[in-house]
């Protein structure tokens, strides 16, 4: 596998924790092969292995307003805490470990969608729903630009 990879992380059925999954599903509806991932850190390294440009979308909890979208370049900015929530070994750990092991993709952008609720069985909150739409639209453009230009290293 080479080229661009879009990964949506999260847990369906746990309210806004499903934000990343919802983005992946929207992209697939548009024919873009986005993958869903639980956010298990040890497996993320495998998930992005071979890809050179990776976008990872996950719900975050930073205290910002619900639906706030934040982007990090994970190659340069440290990812503090675990955006995945309470997993013992989540997205932040995966980035840290990949850095140590030399297994970071050439480009790794993490897109965080601020969550409001992680309740069991709850749907996405309206603010997060809107953020899912805007992040999906942005990633469709990124994907089209990437594929259209056939940009391969």
């Amino acid at each position: 596998m080479s080229g661009i990879l879009i990964i949506g992380c999260g847990t369906p059925g746990r309210g806004d924790d499903a934000a990343g999954i919802a983005v992946a599903r929207r992209l697939r509806e548009r024919g873009i092969a986005a993958s869903e991932h639980s956010g298990d850190g040890a497996d993320l390294l495998e998930a992005w292995s071979g890809a050179d440009t990776v976008f990872l979308v996950d719900a975050v909890s930073s205290g910002a307003a619900a639906g706030t979208v934040t982007e990090w370049d994970a190659r340069t900015a440290p990812v503090a805490g675990s955006p995945a929530g309470t997993h013992a070994f989540g997205v932040a750990e995966a980035v840290g470990l990949a850095r140590v092991l030399g297994r970071l993709p050439a480009s790794l952008t993490i897109i965080g969608i601020e969550a409001a609720s992680f309740a069991h069985g709850a749907p996405l909150t309206p603010e997060v729903e809107r953020a899912v739409e805007s992040v999906s639209e942005r990633l469709i453009l990124v994907y089209e630009e990437y594929s259209g230009k056939g940009r391969r290293p």
Binding site: T11, G13, S38, D40, G41, A42, D43, L45, E46, T86, H87, A88, F89, E93, G96, L97, V100, L101, H120
Partner: protein, 431 residues
């Protein structure tokens, strides 16, 4: 006399959310509380009124690390109610499914969560800088466990293929054979893991545990057997609640289990190993003895070695099952619905997981009871701390705190199952 409190507000490297508080008065331990403060999960309530077929998928959501265990206990309990006998190859596939979960869960705990304690690193990332090969080995091993779970369960996390009577889909022989080379590598990697962790330094901490696990006449237990303890309890799984009781303790959102006749007991790798050593395949027994853990091993700090031995077993067992596999004619067996109550215990990576269901004539769940391994071990984990602290009380506070956290991680507590986080607090004069 000075009092001090050892507090860990957020216990790291455990699954879920919890805290540890230890109160000391002079050189005496006054109180130990392992707190589990994620709000109780109302799964037993959600299940009421749902169809019996939904229990495996609903309960699998309780835990991202051991969903296979939840599915297995749920399907076996329902099959007991309906009198369904599963095909021997379906039975074998369920063991294989469990092998995958044990490999992924044990490897995560050994390398990412527990090894940093023994090697003196705050976390696996710092450890990886100096132990790249070991961490790469761990990632590849865990991946192989995930592939097994994904092949049988349809996906790695929260698998969806297990159902009452079997699986929605069973793999073709060639699909399983495709995993053989990786599993042969995994077997060697698991042996190397056991030898690596056996070289760690272990505190001299032997306890008189009452070990408890399933026991099967011919197999190292996964899905079937009587529930036995080292002190003579030997019961059908339907008698579990006659012998063990869950009690609410004020400081925890999870219920704590104990024996009805009083006292704690221990479930999980160390208990399984001591009670079932003879059922392990030769390779696992031999490596275990080379690693210096002749049973009975009564030191929970050495449970990291036992997890590695169980990983050897899981790889070896997976290879055996795949070599003997013939695709069953039907993926699942079924039977007409009838009302009744059914019980099951299966061996989750962290220990025995009990489910009991009652269903009505329409197949709707009237009541459900789930007793996860972490709630069974919580009392015993607190007792370990009561016993451990007097021997380390003269050490600096940060060392006491570290050893206490390590002792809790011996249990690989899955607080997400017991209710989700673990936090330790050290405060008081000088803290």
């Amino acid at each position: 006399m000075t009092s001090r409190t050892i507090k860990v507000d957020y216990l790291a490297r455990v699954e879920g959310e919890g805290a540890l508080q230890v109160k000391l008065r002079g050189n005496r331990v006054e109180d130990v509380r392992l707190k589990i403060f994620e709000p109780p999960r109302m799964f037993e309530g959600f299940l009421r009124g749902r169809r019996y077929t939904e229990a495996p998928d609903i309960t699998a959501r309780i835990c991202g690390i051991c969903p296979v265990a939840y599915q297995m206990s749920a399907v076996h309990a329902m099959e007991r109610i309906l009198g369904i006998a599963i095909h021997p190859q379906v039975r074998a596939l369920r063991r294989l499914f469990y092998c995958g979960e044990w490999i992924e869960s044990h490897v995560l705990h050994i390398y990412m969560l527990h090894a940093p304690d023994f090697l003196g690193y705050p976390d696996a990332i710092k450890m990886a800088a100096d132990h790249k090969d070991a961490v790469e080995r761990a990632l590849r091993l865990k991946r192989i466990g995930n592939r097994l779970v994904a092949l049988l369960g349809g996906r790695e996390i929260h698998p969806v293929s297990a159902c009452v009577g079997g699986f929605h889909r069973v793999p073709a022989k060639a699909e399983l054979r495709a995993l053989e080379d990786d599993l042969k590598w995994a077997l060697d990697a698991a042996i190397a893991t056991a030898k690596l962790v056996a070289g760690f330094e272990f505190p001299d901490f032997e306890q008189d545990y009452e070990f408890a696990s399933l026991s099967h006449p011919g197999e190292y237990p996964f899905n079937e057997g009587r529930f036995v303890t080292s002190d003579g309890i030997d019961i059908d799984v339907s008698e579990f609640e006659d012998n063990f009781i869950e009690q609410h303790v004020k400081h925890s959102n999870a219920l704590q289990a104990q024996k009805r006749r009083g006292g704690s007991y221990l479930v999980g790798p160390l208990a399984r190993y001591n009670l079932n050593f003879g059922k392990l395949p030769g390779v696992a027994r031999q490596v275990a003895l080379e690693c210096g853990i002749e049973p009975p091993c009564r030191n929970q700090f050495r449970s990291i070695v036992v997890r590695a031995v169980e990983t050897i077993f899981a790889c070896d067992e997976a290879l055996r099952i795949i070599a003997e596999y013939e695709r069953p004619p039907e993926p699942f067996a079924s039977a007409p619905v009838r009302p009744g109550a059914g019980h099951a215990i299966t061996e989750a990576p962290r220990g025995s997981l009990y489910h009991r269901y009652e269903i009505d004539a329409a197949g709707l769940i009237k009541s459900a009871r789930i007793v996860p391994p972490t709630s069974q071990n919580q009392k015993r984990a607190e007792e370990d701390l009561w016993a451990l602290i007097p021997g380390i009380i003269s050490k600096p506070q940060h060392e006491i705190t570290h050893i206490c956290e390590q002792a809790v991680r011996n249990y690989d507590p899955c607080i997400s199952c017991a209710t989700h986080f673990l936090k330790l607090n050290v405060s008081g004069p000088g803290a």
